[in-house]
């Protein structure tokens, strides 16, 4: 049903596409992280698609991959009921990607969560600080190499 969105993105940005697939209604485009802002601007501004909602953004840690983190963005059109998923790989050595807050204001807190949990940093984010963990917390707990038994209490003993 959202194949039209996928086709439009593939036609518009042929040089920035790494991969794409469409399976049982899951339209996914994997793009280079440098192209994130222009792809998202295109989706939002296109009068035919009318993608008007950033549903969620999150991150996945694939420690075995060369580019370790995969940013995942879900978009939705309340008008046309289109759904599209944009993914962008981010490497551990350069954990930077452009912030979507200039286009979608609701990206603010999810991006802070991704920064808190995975350590991916967002360029031009208005307030890139931890949102869930406390200031004293070291590391990023949802990274696969964070020790599963590691505790960092502020008060009291390790338990």
């Amino acid at each position: 049903m959202s194949k039209i969105v996928l086709d439009k993105v593939l036609r518009k940005f042929p040089d920035d596409i790494i991969d794409s697939h469409s399976y049982v209604g899951n339209e996914t485009v994997i793009i280079k992280k440098e192209a994130l802002l222009k792809v998202c601007s295109f989706l939002k501004d296109n009068r035919q698609l009318m993608i008007d909602m950033l549903v969620d953004l999150t991150c996945v840690d694939y420690p075995q991959e060369t580019e370790r983190f995969m940013m995942v963005y879900h978009f939705y059109s309340t008008e046309n009921k289109y759904r599209i998923r944009i993914k962008a790989p981010v490497s551990e050595e350069e954990p930077f990607i452009d912030s979507l807050t200039s286009i979608w204001k609701n990206a603010n807190w999810p991006e802070r969560e991704v920064y808190d949990m995975y350590g991916v940093k967002f360029n031009d984010h208005p307030d890139l600080t931890r949102i869930l963990m406390y200031e004293e917390f070291e590391g990023h707990p949802l990274r696969k190499d964070y020790p599963i038994t590691k505790r960092q209490p502020i008060v009291g003993p390790l338990n």
Binding site: L132, M133, Y134, P141, Y146, I148, K150, R151, Q152, P153, I154, V155, G156, P157, N159
Partner: protein, 180 residues
């Protein structure tokens, strides 16, 4: 209550009741537990039902919540405590004036429950002393009333000045608001 058959009852008749100071003090304390609800998670729903009219915790003299810890006797720790939340709980406990009691409400507060991860405290008794633990996820209202009755029983049998200051459980764990 405490003293029996001293012969003085025969003289005074039923106009006087004799007891020990400790006994009447504990009796007064156990029927006037002003509680501070430290509610953080889903156990709060069961807590609310117990403190509503249906189960009516007022029967145990423990219905009146004080939202200042300085006026509270009984700290109800209801729900999951994260490491981020723990300094606040510690502060609340330190601000309560003696004598004070703590009820650990539900699996999470007692042991961390099924949250054995980077964020969750594995039982509040690692930092503050607990008098009664209530198991359950969340506990039934009957279990909560049972806990209040058990706490009343414990208070009734407390000896004067038998309460000790709680042990130093951690390196930063000093009373007096150093963790603010």
């Amino acid at each position: 209550m405490g003293v029996k058959n001293t012969g003085i009852e025969n003289i005074l008749g039923e106009s006087v009741v004799l007891t020990r100071a400790e006994s009447i003090l504990n009796w007064a304390r156990k029927w006037s537990l002003f509680q501070f609800p430290f509610v953080t998670a889903c156990c709060g729903m069961e807590f609310m039902s117990v403190y509503g009219p249906h189960y009516d915790a007022a029967r145990f003299g423990a219905e009146y919540p004080r939202f200042s810890p300085r006026q509270a006797d009984l700290l109800f720790v209801v729900g999951t405590i994260s490491h981020k939340q723990l300094p606040i709980l510690k502060n609340v406990y330190d601000q309560m004036s003696d004598p004070k009691w703590v009820i650990s409400f539900g699996a999470c507060a007692s042991s961390g429950g099924f949250y054995n991860n980077y964020a969750t405290v594995q039982g509040i008794d690692t930092v503050i002393p607990v008098d009664v633990y209530i198991p359950g996820c969340p506990p039934r209202p009957e279990a909560i009333m049972d806990a209040i009755i058990k706490l009343q029983d414990k208070i009734q049998h407390e000896k004067y000045q038998s309460r000790k200051s709680y042990p130093d459980l951690g390196k930063n764990n000093k009373p007096g608001g150093e963790n603010e």
